[in-house]
Structures are given as structure tokens and as C-alpha cells.
Amino acid sequence: MDRYTRQTSLSDFGQAGQQKLFEAKVLVVGLGGLGLPALQYLNAMGVGTLGLIDQDIVDYHNLQRQILYTEKDVGKSKLNTAHNKLQSQNSETNFILHDTFLTKNNALEIIRQYDLVLDATDNFPARYLINDACVILNKPFVYGALHGFEGHVSVFNYQGGPTYRCLYAEMPTAEEIPNCDENGVLGVIPGIIGNLQALEVIKVVTGIGNMLSGKLLVFDGLHQNYLKIAFKTHPENLAIKELRESYESSDCSIINSISAQEFSQKRLNKSQIVLDVRTPKEFEHNHLAEAINVPLQELDLPLNLIESKAPIYVICQSGKRSELAIEQLQKAHPELTFCNILGGMNQLSILTQ
């Protein structure tokens, strides 16, 4: 019995649709709240080649929305964990694993190998990078993003249609729009948005129905409202020929930073001053022995740190809040030196595994 008979029996989809899925190569960027539900359906439905990219590890606070992962997976790599489970779900799928984050240096090389991209990232720099790389390579991409109880879905750069920059021309600064870490998201919302993205991928690949090209779907979970906003192509946004110098928001570029690996080395040689800006609850769960907890919300430097004049290393879970903290601290204390620990506690815990 054909495992896909329930969908091939649909007259609009049929064997032809199934064959198109089998031949499709789809890259899913990010193995989190959006990427996992999308992957589970794309894999179950028989998409032939699925690319997975992420370098994060499974954390306890992921489990509330990233429902492919179990308690036993906490502390393990998302890439390997997701790959193992998806492989047992469908052994016929060809998986391509990219053990990295998408960066300016690897984006074109990686995306080039695929027919389309599903953007399941959680930050603006990655979204603008995916947009520009897809425009340069002429690949459509299915966008999904969240805020609290709301979600966005659209299909960008599809057959000359509008792109992400036609909707939001320039990247907002870290100050104006909060990210998921401090803003929160109701667990089921990414499941809904990720599944809507999977549906759009299927439609782009097989050509059935009307795609959300030139339409932004705004979903409001609290009121079950779906708003569809039409928007047009700005031709200059299709004329991108190369990636930008940097995809970090402009006010972050002046921040000193150190890789988690370098910091570990430094720390072994000599004890450093470490400021942990996560919430007291996160701090209680795990922290570096020498770290002092000053949550981002109540950012006030202890007097002895101000007087010591020694460089202060700032850490959080993933390296985003620490970046925001340094922006504020540097304004308040221009005479002191602050340094962001890239990848935060997540990256340090990978190193110590």
C-alpha cells in the first residue's frame, strides 16, 4: 500500500504532486518552534530532500513549544536530535545536515543547493540575510515569525513577487523590537505558524492553490483573526546583487565581543569579572561560579565593579540580552570596558560537554 495514498487520491494533488514533492529540495533554517512542526509534516508528506541547519542545543525552556524534543534531549544538539527523530519518521527522505548557523559567509553556498527556503529563525539579522541571499540566488522563501499571541506568514521572492524588504525595507534595531527571549510566546502559536509555512511550501513546490505571494497573513491567536494584507513589489529590492557587509543591527557593531571558546581559555588562566544578565530564576538553574547576577530589567552595576575598572564580561543564555545590556551599560559607564560573550551559556555548555 502506497504510504501517500491519502494525499495522492486528492484530484488536485495526485501522483504528479507527490512526484514534485519527491524531487523537491527544501532548506529549513532553524530547528525551533517554527522549523520543527514544518519539518515533521514536510518529512511525513514525502519531500525528497530536507536540509537542516542549526547549532543550538535543546534547553528546558524550549520544550513548551518545540514538541519534537523530549526531556531526555535537553543539553543535546538540536541538529542531531531532530535528524534522528525525522529519520525514523521517514527513512526515504534524504537529509542534509549543516552543523552551523547561517552566516554571511556560508549563506549563498548553502542556499544554492536548494529549491526553496523555509525561514524558521528567531531574529532579524538572519531573516534579512535569508531574504538577500534568496533574492541573489532567485529562490523563493516561506517566511514565518511570531510575537506573543500573533504570527506572520508570507511567501517572498516567488516568481518576481515582493520580498521581505518590500514589506519592511530596513532591519529594525534591537532596541525597538524585542526578541523572543524576553518577549515570550504562547507554546501553540509557533505550531500553527510553522504548519502554515509547511502548507505554503507544499503549494510552492506543487503549484496547487494560491500562494501567499504578495500577501502577508497576520494571525491573531487571542481572537482567532486572520488578516491578509496585500503589498507590492519594489523593483529595487529584486536588484540585490551581493550581501551586505554586516547583518548585525547597526548599534551592535560597536560592542566588544569574545567567542565562548576564547573566554573559556581566558577564564582558566585567570578569574574574570562576569556579569550574568539573565533572570534570577535562570541564574539559579545554572551559572558560572564567579558570575554576579544583575538581571537586564534592573540593570544596575554594583559599586565595587565600577571602582575596579577591570573589563567586565557580560553573559546571558544566547548572547542577545547581554548585547542589549552592554549597550545600556556603556552609555551609563563610558569609562568602563564591557565585552559580550558570544552564544552565551548555550555555547559555553556545548564546550564543556
Binding site: E150, P172, V218, I229, A230
Partner: protein, 84 residues
Amino acid sequence: MTILLFGVTKDIVGSPTLSVPTTSVTGKKIPKTVKELKRFLGEAYPELNKLSSLAVAVNNAYADDEQKINSYDEIALIPPVSGG
């Protein structure tokens, strides 16, 4: 006119909708274009001025600053969102 608020604009205003008076009882100039509406809202909620790219939809279509608006229009503020 009633404005639907999404994303961080809902958080800034503290409500999913916002009413803008269409008669000049308040003595303030009534917004007649998207640009004037943005200015009007920015005066009431200065935090909104910080949003560098904010999409405004009029009758379910993306509107530029020059577009005219009236009390029958359905207007929504849709800022970019980044979570995943």
C-alpha cells in the same frame, strides 16, 4: 476611526485597538493621510516614533505615507516581528 494594533504597537498602547477622533471636538487636527496618522499617534504614544519600519494597512492593503484615509477605512498597524 478604529485602528487595529499588532505586535509591539499593541504592547506600547496596551490595547488591541485604538480610536482616533474624526471630528475636531478635541481641537486637534484630524489625520487625513497615513503620514498625518503616524504623527498623530506618535504624539499620543512617543514610543511609536522609535519604530523605523512600521507597516500601515488601509483596507487590507499596504499603504504608503501619502495615502488618504477617512473614517470608513479599516486601518491596522503591523510592525515587524522576529520571534520563532
